[in-house]
Each structure stands twice: as C-alpha cells, then as structure tokens.
Symmetry: C2
Subunit: 535 residues, 2 copies
C-alpha cells in the first residue's frame, strides 16, 4: 500500500449478543447482524460493518479487504444502466439487503431519486443505496487536520464508525498525507467513501485559495477517482453573485469548501471554475461512476441565517447542476444544512425536491439550536430526525466535538449512535416495514425481563449492559423480574403480568361492551366530554 | 429538620463565565444568570438555580433556604385569585422573570392554560409558571429506591439539576426515609417540588397494592401537602373498565402509579378510589394550593402501544377530572407519554388540548424509538422537542439510565442538558422573543472567535471548554482566529472575514441588481429552473 507507518489495531469480532450471518437471498449472498435471543428466536438486522464483525474475522489492513469480483466497468454508471432497464449486481445486492424488490431499486435509481455510490475502483465496498424510498442512511466524517491525529487513528475510526452503523464515510483530511490516509481508508472500507476534493487541491497551493486553478482541481479529482472515492462534494453552486448575500449574515460562510470558492471568485472577480467547467467534471465522474454530492457552500452556520436568500439562491443553482449531471449519466445527491430552527426544517426538503428533481437530500443535522456546543450530536439529532421524516435520504452525523475540535473514537461512536437514533426514528415515522420489528422485539424483551435480549437488540449493547450493571451487577439480576428503578416490590411490569393473568381468555364481553357503549356515548356528545359536576 | 445523616456537600458558586444578578423589575427583585462577554456586553438568562449560584453563596442545608415573606394563605389558590382579577406577588415575579406582562400571566392562569405550582407551605421556592404562552419548562426526576442511594445524594442531585436548568423537581423516592428525603429536598429547593403520593402510600402497606385504601391515601396526601409539595401526580384516570384495554399491548401498563391502581381495581373489582373520591381530593389540594398533575397511568411504554384506545380512553377521563378540579379552584396540568413515534406525536397535543380545556401538558419525552437504551435522553429529546413545539408546556426529562437504573449525578446533568436543548429548540420554533437572542449572541461569539464567550453562553460552559482544550489547551488558542477542526491555513470564518472586508460599504449596486434580475427571471419561469443544456 504505502510505507507510511500505520498502527494496524482495529476492533474486530461480532457485536455483543449478535453474530454475523451471510444469507443467500434470490441468489445473492448478503450480510446481516443476527441478534440471537434467549427465547430461541432471532432478528436479522441491516449490517454496515463488513467482514470486521465476522465471527472468525482475520483482517490484514496492509492487504485491504477482498474486492468484489463482479464490478463491471464498461457499461457506464448505475444511473445509465438503470435507465437502460438493467438490474445490476449492485442493485440485486441492495434489494436483498433492504428487503425490497430489485425493480424498485432500479426504478428509483433510473428516476434519480436514489443513488448507489460505487466507484468502479472501490470494489472493497458492499453496495448500498441512498434514497428516500429506502432506509435512512448515516454518514460519519473522519479525517485528520494539520494539528491532529495519524493515519492509523483514522482507519480505526472508519472501522469503528461502520461497526456502529455508519453507512458511508467521508474522509475530510486536510493535513499531511492526505493521499496515503485515503488509500488506507479506501482499501479497508466496507462502505462507500466520500471526499471534498477542494481540500486536497488547496494543500497543493499551500493553503492559498487564490492560487487554485481548474486544472489543478481537475487533476485532484482524477487522482481521487482513480483511487476509488465513491462520491465527491463539489461546491459548484457558490456563484460570484451570491457572495454579497452573505455579508450581513451572523455567521457568513461556514462551509470550508464554500469559503474557499468564494475567496477564489472574489480574488479573480470571475465565475467559479467549478461552475464553468461543470460539464467536463461530469465526464470525469461518469467514467468511474463517482456520484456527485453537490455541496451547500452557503449553508447557514447559525439559526439566524437559516433559509435565507444566499442559501436558497445556491440551492436553485444546484437544481440546474443536477439536471446537467444527470444529462451526463452521473448520479447526484444534494447537500443540505446546517443550522435550522425546527419550524423552518421541512421547507428545506420541499424546496430541494422541487428544485432538484427529488435527487436524494443529504443533510448535516441540522442543529435545531446554536446554544449547546459539546452536545451538538443532540441538538442536531433533533433536526436530523425531523428532516429525515420529511424525506432526507442520508444524514451526515455531528459529534459532540462539533465546533470545538476533531472527533476522537468516543465522539465518533456517540455521533453514529445519535444519528442511528434519528434515522431509525424517521424510518418508524415513515412506516418502514422492518423498523418497527426491532422496536417491538426490544420492548417485548424489556417487558418480559429478558435483559440480555434487551441489550443485544439495542444500538449499543455494551453501554446498555454497563449502565444496568452499575446498580445490579450480579448475573441473577439479568433474569430477575424487577430492576433497580423500582425494586422488587414495586414493579409495574410484574403487576401488569398479574393483570394479564386475570384475563387468561382475553377481555370479558361485558367489559368490552361497556367500552363500546362508553365510546358511543362519547360520540353522541359530539366527542365532547360530559361534565358530571356543575362548575 | 430530621436526624437522618445527610452529607451537606452540594455545588455552589456561579456557572463559569456568568455571575448571578438580582434585577429590580417593576418593583420585583428577580434573579438572572448574567453572562459577561469579553466585548463588554452581557446577556441575562432565565435562572433556575436559586441562591446556590450566588457569588457569595453561603448555604446551610440543615437550616434550609430563606423563605419568601409574602406568601398569602387565606385567599385561596392562584387560580381562584387570578379569576378574581388579582395579580399575586407570584404572578408579578413570574412576569418579570419571563419578560411578559403580569396581566398575561394572570389571564393564562385564570383560563387554566397555565399553572403556578406554589404550595403555601413551600415558601423556599422561587415562583415559576407552566403554560404554553411561556418558555418551555423542564422537570428533573430524582429520588432513591429500595436498592439505591442516600438522602444526601438526592439533595445534591436536586441542587445539581437546578444548577443546569431544571425548572421543577420530582421526588420519586420509593425506599426507606421517604418523608425525611422529601423534607430535606423541600426545605432546600429553589424550584417547585412534585411527588407521586401513591408511592409513599404503598410503602405504608408494605408494597401490597390491594391493601391500599382511600383513607390511607388521603392521609398521605395531607402529610405531603403539609410539608409543602407543590404538585402531585394522581392517576385518577385509570378506571376499572380501561384495564382490559391494556391486555393485548406489547408492554401493558408501564406507569408505576397506573399499575398500582389497576391492581387495586382488579383485586377489589370496584372503581378506583382516586376517581370516586376525587372531589374530596380537590378540597384538600385547594387548601394548600397544591397543583394536580393528572397522571397518565395508561401511557404507552413502547412504540407499538402509542396512541391506542387505553391511552386515549384515560385521557378523556382526565378531561372530565380537569373540569372537576377547576370547579374546586384547583390548578391542573395533564401528564402525557411516554413512547410515541414522530408521526403520532402532534395528535397527542391536539387531543389533550381539546379534551382538557388546554390545561398545561406535561410529557415524559416522548421517546421516538425503543431501540436505544443508554441513550434515551436522545431518543426522547427528539420527541420532546417536537411535542413542545406543538404546545407542551413542561417536559419531564429522561436520562441515559432510563430503563436501566436510577440516574446518578452525571446522568442528571446529561438529562437536564438534553432537555434544555429540546425546550430551547421549541422556544425558537415557537418564536419566543428571548430565545433567539442567546443563539445569536453565541453564534456571533463563535464567528468572531471569542472562545470564552462561546463557552460562557452555552448550556454547559465547562464541558464545552474541556472539549476544546482536548486538542488546543493553550490559552492563546482561546483568542486565535482558527481552531483545531481546520487548522490555521484553512479557516472558513477567516476567509469570510476577508469577504466582508471586500465589501466595506455593503453590497455594490450592480451585484444587488444582478441578483434582483436573476430573481425576476426565476419567477418569470414559474419558479422553475432554466436548463442550459439539452438532456
């Protein structure tokens, strides 16, 4: 690979209470996390973790993961093949993985409502789909900067993030060894990898945005596409004429890519080279099937700046660019905010869908308030759940370190878990058929005091068990019909069991009839409650 | 007080970067947390922490806090006095504290849309209001159980919770020393204290719900009212005929109070003594001005059980009871779920307002999914933010330990902060005039690299600073115009400043006109984007 020293230590083996299974579905071999329950049942969950969680995982980071053998490079992009009516190997895998028909996958991709980020040169990745007809996905950002971390740490974070459910990874490294870091990540990543090529381009000008050129940028994109980057954030919507719209904002331009391009446009007083060369860029991406992630360089960086003219002007331009990209057969998703108060969130989705032909929306949170640095995984999980319910296809996580520093291993896990919560809450609200199965299985285990099952079915079995054991560590407490909250005498669930026992044959007719009569009475009063006492 | 040993160690002194100020507003002396900014400005924030955060705090837990001198006992409840047109001392204090007119406070209380939980016997508390016309409030549950913790720990948690913003405290102790624990908490609490009297009543029957009687319960209520409990959860809506509706639920009855009353009803096959004696209970509560918190004993304990017939049947009965309580001059709020998927949340608020004459809604979360034990402060902050935006007046926090154990000091803080986020996000979404001031001040500080100010304005200055310092601990980094995320060469905010510098006199006319023309062109095309290339 390279001769940069990398500490090869990453976490392997199954998640506690689960085992990795590969099921043959419609002729495709698909991985699942199988939760093995103490009552003999099991539940298979969507799995993002790749071979690292295999029971007998043997990982050689210097060799990389075993590539898929069925990558086809000479028939164009997934979008082009979907339009031609082809169900690709990637689509078949995704259909089996998501539990939907392959035709649905093909159709959503053909319409541009879903993307399959799968660079021909990243065969180590297990195909996945981003689109609102499917489970809501989560991206985890990793990457070092000039002042922090090593390649080994970043590879470890990649494995760690996918272990807890990250569906894609973005390598946002900005320091030394950008190329080498990305190489290590790509060769070992079981999920698609995204980048922001302008970051590396800027390193090549020693940090001076005014020295950027189209040629330098283009060569960087080709370098990264050759390596296997699956999707690239391109801030081609930051146009010269939009820059003044940010002057009176509370937080100006907060996107790194956006501010770099704005600085370039201003310095040269000419239109963005990303915009003027967009067609050529499309041709490059089409060759590798790299997916566009059209960046929102003018996204709001504070509640005050949400949904302003600068933001929506850029979004209109992203709509133009979406059409151009698709006309070249390139898959497209659209990046979204940022910081948005709850009552302004849904408008973002509606406008994006209208302007960008329902291209998958990919949002950063948004944070529902600015006032909680160190807890922005929570401020943003609130916004993320709401925007995903409204139709966002993938959520870019925010960690507790947002605004304060780069995430370490703990932050990465905290961010991923918070975002799995948001994504799952949205799946439930959207009526995703598999989502509620898991809630029901966990709640049933909880109600039946199957503690081990409750832990195993949770997003983070280790922490759930650790918290339980802080007060009741002994093994018998794992099967006891009470817990530390109420103590043995006081358990509501035990009392409920007594109630169930009182009605072994179901609800008696006279009680059921009483309820029906009561219900009718309520309706007779115009659904208003009868007031038994004079006021 | 009592001779039970209590460790008198609680946290005192101002929050980092703030000082406690008492401002004279309309003749009332009101406490605020004043954030002192490095640019010479300051921002005064609503403060719940009582004298513990005074600069020169001298606290004697054995003596208790100094009582208010202006408590009037012989003119009835706040509701009765509001109806009579009186602006009480409590209302005047609240108006100054919330920044609204005293007449608004009086009117909302008179209409029953807001409550002021202020037992005449709890003069140590600083008056506050719960109602949807005011800032969204947060309650923190504390209390020991048969298997955990001491009185000293619970007093410490009370002080700790109010330090971080808890507006009320519920003492849910179920173990030994219930009376003494409550006494210590009441005498030292600067916020209203709520309880669930049935818990103590059950201790008196040694945990056997079938041995409960109205007389035993009534005497417990009087005992607690005499001590100064400000509001009491009463599960009077769990009627005999509703119990069978829970039999086929995934998680049956999960409310402790609800299950106790259900067990009693079933054992005696008669109607709940709380329901049949409700008028007498009202008379007792009116004497002290204890506020009802009508409990949702049949709230859903899982996503599967949300918004079901059992839950809504009880809610209709709570509507009946609301009218009865108000006819006795007793203030009322209504408790709500629990576990509810996002798409079913708003219906809860609509129905509560319709059935309960807009009595303040007080909800536990709700959790938007069941699958994340150990992270239920997050699953529920999502639901809490949404339900508060829809009109819930107070949010009962959920800590990371929910479903797993009782919260320790760290959990209490994590729960309070998560819920301050949810409440504040809702205040923003509801257009609360003071809410956005804080976001703007913090974002401005962030944009101007005033790190100390960013920390000081945040919900948790200590953790924000700690996270920042993990990567850049040196003091000069607190004023440096970059941070560890991007490093010095790469800072979007620095670049934005360059952009501002490029337009020192505002946006040039030709650019502004260009935007206007573009905007018009967009409108001319029916708000559809012009596609420059053929597909």
């Amino acid at each position: 690979m390279t001769d940069v020293f990398v500490d090869p230590s990453v976490t392997t083996g199954p998640i506690t209470g689960s085992s990795k299974v590969y099921r043959e579905i419609d002729g495709v071999r698909v991985p699942f996390r199988r939760v093995n329950l103490t009552n003999g049942e099991h539940l298979d969950l969507y799995d993002t973790s790749g071979p690292y969680t295999d029971d007998d995982a043997v990982i050689d980071l210097t060799a990389g993961l075993r590539p898929r053998s069925n990558v086809i490079r000479d028939r164009g992009t997934q979008l082009q093949r979907a339009r031609a009516g082809e169900i690709t190997a990637e689509m078949a895998f995704i259909a089996a993985r998501e539990g939907v028909s392959a035709e649905l996958v093909r159709d959503e991709v053909a319409r541009g409502r879903a993307v399959i980020p799968a660079n021909h040169n990243h065969p180590e990745s297990e195909p996945m789909i981003i689109g609102k007809a499917f489970g809501v996905k989560v991206n985890a950002n990793i990457g070092n900067s000039a002042v922090t971390s090593s390649i080994g740490e970043e590879v470890d974070k990649m494995v760690w993030a996918t272990r807890w459910g990250a569906d894609t990874i973005m390598d946002l490294s900005t320091g030394r060894n950008i190329h080498e870091t990305r190489e290590w990540i790509l060769r070992n990543s079981p999920v698609p990898v995204g980048t922001v090529p302008i970051y590396q381009a800027l390193e090549k000008t020693n940090g001076d945005p005014t020295k950027l050129t189209w040629e330098l940028y283009r060569d960087t994109v080709i370098e990264q596409a050759e390596q296997g980057v699956d999707y690239m954030t391109v801030h081609a919507g930051v146009l010269l004429r939009y820059i003044p719209l940010t002057v009176n904002r509370v937080t100006g331009i907060v996107s790194r890519g956006g501010s770099i391009m704005a600085a370039w446009c201003l310095a040269h007083h000419t239109e963005s080279f990303l915009y003027t060369n967009f067609a050529e860029l499309c041709e490059i991406l089409a060759r590798y099937d790299v997916t566009f992630s059209l960046g929102d360089g003018l996204r709001p960086g504070s509640i005050a700046d949400a949904n302003d003219e600068a933001q929506f002007a850029e979004l209109r331009t992203l709509g133009e660019l979406t059409k151009i990209a698709k006309s070249h057969g390139v898959q497209v998703m659209i990046e979204g905010p940022g910081h948005v108060p709850m009552h302004k969130i849904v408008e973002n989705v509606k406008l994006e869908e209208e302007l960008c032909e329902e291209a998958p929306f990919y949002t950063l949170g948004p944070l529902a308030t600015d006032i909680a640095p160190a807890y922005d995984h929570i401020t943003s999980a609130i916004g993320a759940a709401i925007i995903a319910q409204a139709g966002t296809a993938m959520l870019c996580y925010v960690t507790p370190k947002e605004h304060l520093g780069l995430p370490d291993r703990k932050d990465v896990k905290d961010g991923v878990i918070a975002y799995k919560i948001a994504a799952h809450a949205a799946d439930l609200a959207k009526g995703h058929p598999r989502a509620q199965e898991r809630d029901n299985a966990l709640s049933k285990a909880r109600f039946e005091f199957r503690w081990h099952d409750q832990f195993a079915l949770s997003l983070d079995p280790d922490t759930a068990r650790e918290f339980h054991d802080e007060t009741l560590p002994a093994e018998p407490a794992k099967t006891a019909h009470f817990c530390s909250m109420c103590g043995p005498k006081f358990c509501s669930m035990r009392i409920t069991q007594d109630i169930r026992d009182a009605y072994p044959n179901g609800v008696p007719d006279e009680i059921a009839q009483g309820m029906a009569a009561k219900s009718q009475e309520f309706a007779d009063h115009g659904n208003r409650v009868y007031l038994p006492l004079a006021p």
